[in-house]
C-alpha cells in the first residue's frame, strides 16, 4: 500500500487534517475528554453551545435512553460567552486540533454579537450556529424551521464574523432543502446536519413523560437513516460543504455520510459510550480507503453509484 491516504478536507475555508469532529454538546469544552482520548487526532472539536449570558438549563430528568437512542432536554445549559473565553478557550487553544465554537441565542441580534466577540478570540477557528433554539420574539417557536429567519440569522452572522460560519440545520421541518438553500443563499460557508429530532418518552407506571421538559431531542444510531437521507437531499440542493451528523458510531457510518455528500462528519452520542470513538473512526477511514484504493477522502464525497 505504501502511501498513507489523504484525509485533509476544507470546510468553507476551515482546513482540517481529517474530516472527523465531535458534535456540540457531546464533548464538553474538550478538557473533559483530555484524559480519555487523544484529542489531537481529531479533525476538530465543536465546543458545547454558548449564549451571551449563562443558562441554567432545564429541570431534571434531562435524559433517558430509548431504543438505540438517547433522548435529551438539557436546555442549552452553558457558562456564557464571558466564562467560555476566560475559562474554556485557554485549554482549547493549546489543543493541536481546530476549534469550532457553537453559538445560540434568543434573538437574531444575539447571534451577531456572539460572532463579533468570537471573531476576535484567539483559539477559535470557526463558528457553528445552532438555530434550533426557541425564538423569544416569536413565542418560543424554533428559529431553525423558518427559511426567512434562517436567512436572517445567517446574514447577521456573516456580517459580524471574520471566521467561517457553519449553520447547523434542524431536522424538524418538512423539507430540509428549504432551510439549507436559505442559509446557503445568505452566505453560509458550510452547513452541518442534523441536530436532534424532537421526540418524547413516557413512563407507563407513573403515567408521566420521562423528561422534565416533556419533549426532548433524539440522537444516536436510531436517527442515522433519517440524517443520512437529509444529508443526501441537501447535497443535491446546495453547493457549499456539508458536515454529516446523526448516530455515527463507526467508520462505516462516517463513510455512509461522506458517500451521501458530506465533506466531514461529527460524532455525537458515541462520545458518551466510547470516548475514543472519534480516534477509532479516523483510523477506520484510512483502513477503508486502503482497502478500496482511495488516495484522497475527497474522492469519496457524494460518490454513491446509481
Amino acid at each position: 500500500m505504501g502511501q498513507t491516504p489523504r484525509l485533509k478536507v476544507d470546510i468553507g475555508g476551515l482546513k482540517l487534517d481529517n474530516p472527523v469532529m465531535t458534535a456540540s454538546g457531546t464533548f464538553g469544552y474538550g478538557e473533559e475528554f483530555s484524559q480519555l482520548t487523544d484529542i489531537d487526532r481529531l479533525g476538530a472539536i465543536v465546543a458545547k453551545g454558548i449564549s451571551l449570558l449563562p443558562r441554567p438549563g432545564n429541570p431534571p430528568p434531562r435524559i433517558c435512553e430509548t431504543a438505540a437512542g438517547l433522548l435529551n432536554a438539557i436546555g442549552l445549559e452553558n457558562v456564557g460567552i464571558k466564562r467560555f473565553i476566560r475559562e474554556k478557550v485557554p485549554f482549547l487553544r493549546r489543543c493541536g486540533t481546530k476549534v469550532i465554537a457553537n453559538i445560540l441565542g434568543d434573538r437574531v441580534e444575539d447571534y451577531g454579537e456572539l460572532c463579533a466577540i468570537l471573531s476576535d478570540c484567539d483559539g477559535v477557528d470557526a463558528i457553528e450556529v445552532n438555530i434550533s433554539c426557541p425564538n423569544v420574539k416569536k413565542g418560543g417557536m424554533a428559529f431553525g424551521t423558518d427559511p426567512d429567519t434562517v436567512a436572517e440569522i445567517t446574514k447577521t452572522c456573516k456580517e459580524n464574523s471574520k471566521l467561517p460560519v457553519i449553520i447547523k440545520l434542524s431536522p424538524n421541518v418538512t423539507d430540509i432543502t428549504l432551510t439549507a438553500r436559505a442559509a446557503a443563499a445568505a452566505g453560509a460557508d458550510a452547513l452541518s446536519l442534523i441536530n436532534t429530532i424532537t421526540a418524547m418518552a413516557i413512563d407507563t407506571e407513573k403515567r408521566k413523560a420521562v423528561l422534565g421538559n416533556i419533549i426532548g431531542g433524539l440522537s444516536g444510531p436510531a436517527i442515522k437513516p433519517v440524517a443520512l437521507r437529509m444529508v443526501w437531499q441537501t447535497a443535491q440542493a446546495v453547493d457549499i460543504p456539508l458536515i454529516g451528523i446523526g448516530g455515527i458510531m463507526t467508520a462505516t457510518d462516517a463513510i455512509e455520510f461522506i458517500l451521501a455528500g458530506a465533506t466531514a462528519v461529527q460524532v455525537g452520542t458515541a462520545n458518551f459510550i466510547n470516548p475514543g470513538t472519534g480516534e477509532d473512526i479516523v483510523h477506520g477511514l484510512s483502513e477503508y480507503m486502503n482497502r478500496h484504493g482511495t488516495r484522497d477522502i475527497n474522492e469519496l464525497r457524494g460518490a454513491i453509484n446509481s
Binding site: T26, E32, P56, P60, M249, T269
Partner: protein, 264 residues
C-alpha cells in the same frame, strides 16, 4: 481513565443481587469511597449508554468490585458476564466522601446503596475511626443478608431494618438514627448515606433536625459520567442553578440539595 477490564469473578448473591470482580488495576489503585465507574454493558448498541456504578471495593491486587441489582437490560447484560470476558470501564469518576471531617460516623445504607458505604466503612476502620454505627435497610431478609455479609468479615455489626420485619427492626433506617445517637458524641459525629432517593431525603431531614452534618451519594441517569452531557442535573437548594451529579457529586452535603425537586 479508560480501562478494558477482565472479569475475574461474578457471584450471584440471591434476590437479584450480584457482585462482580474486575481486573482494573489503574482504576482500582486510585479509587476512593463513593467514586464510581461507567460500565459499558454491551459491545453493540443495546443498551446504548454506559451505566454508572459505585465502587464496592478496590483491592491492592488490582481488583475492582461492583455490587449491583439486576433490574433492566444493562444490569442483565452485566449479570451474564463470565470470567475472562472484557468490559470497558471509565473511572474513577466523581467526588468521593470527605471522611476526614468528623471523628465519628453513622453510616446509613438502603439496599444496593450499601456499596459506597462498605468502602467508606473499610476506609474509616483503616484510619482508626473506631466509633462507627452502620445502619442498613432493605425490603426483606433475603435482600439484607447478602448485603451485610462482608461487614461481618471486617467485624462490623450492622443495625438492620427490613420493611416486612423478616430481619432486624421492622421499619425504615430513619427509625434507628435516634437510638444510634446515644452511642455517639454528637458534636463530633457525621452521617454518611447512600440509598434510594426518598430514603436519603428522609435521612437528610432527620440529620437537619438533629443538627448533624450529613453527606449523601446521589444516583441519577447519566449518559457520560464526565460532565460533558450535563444530563445528571439536580437542583441546588435556594438557587435557579443545578449541580451535576457526575462531577459536583455524587457526594453532596445533604443541606445543599433541593430534595422536593428530586422526588417524583
Amino acid at each position: 481513565m479508560l480501562e478494558n477490564a477482565r472479569v475475574k469473578n461474578i457471584v450471584s448473591l440471591g434476590a437479584e443481587l450480584f457482585r462482580i470482580g474486575l481486573h482494573s488495576p489503574r482504576i482500582a489503585k486510585i479509587s476512593r469511597p463513593a467514586h464510581f465507574v461507567m460500565v459499558r454493558t454491551s459491545p453493540g448498541i443495546s443498551p446504548l449508554l454506559c451505566r454508572p456504578f459505585s465502587i464496592y471495593q478496590s483491592n491492592t491486587d488490582g481488583t475492582l468490585e461492583i455490587l449491583f441489582r439486576r433490574l433492566g437490560p444493562g444490569t442483565t447484560n452485566i449479570s451474564r458476564l463470565r470470567p475472562r470476558d472484557e468490559v470497558q470501564l471509565t473511572g474513577p469518576l466523581g467526588t468521593p466522601f470527605d471522611l476526614g471531617r468528623r471523628e465519628e460516623y453513622i453510616l446509613i445504607a438502603g439496599g444496593v446503596g450499601i456499596a459506597p458505604i462498605f468502602m467508606a466503612a473499610k476506609h474509616l476502620q483503616r484510619h482508626k475511626r473506631r466509633n462507627l454505627t452502620v445502619i442498613a435497610g432493605a425490603a426483606t431478609a433475603a435482600e439484607i443478608h447478602p448485603l451485610i455479609q462482608d461487614f461481618k468479615d471486617i467485624d462490623i455489626i450492622c443495625d438492620i431494618t427490613t420493611v416486612d420485619g423478616s430481619a432486624g427492626h421492622k421499619g425504615l433506617v430513619t427509625d434507628l438514627i435516634t437510638p444510634a445517637t446515644t452511642k455517639h458524641d454528637m458534636g463530633h459525629t457525621g452521617i454518611i448515606c447512600c440509598g434510594p432517593t426518598p430514603m436519603m431525603a428522609a435521612v437528610a431531614a432527620r440529620a437537619a433536625d438533629l443538627g448533624i452534618e450529613c453527606q449523601v451519594s446521589l444516583e441519577t441517569m447519566m449518559a457520560c459520567g464526565i460532565s460533558a452531557c450535563l444530563g445528571c442535573a439536580v437542583a441546588i437548594r435556594g438557587s435557579e442553578k443545578y449541580f451535576h451529579v457526575c462531577k459536583d457529586g455524587p457526594v453532596f452535603r445533604a443541606d445543599e440539595i433541593e430534595w422536593d425537586r428530586l422526588r417524583d
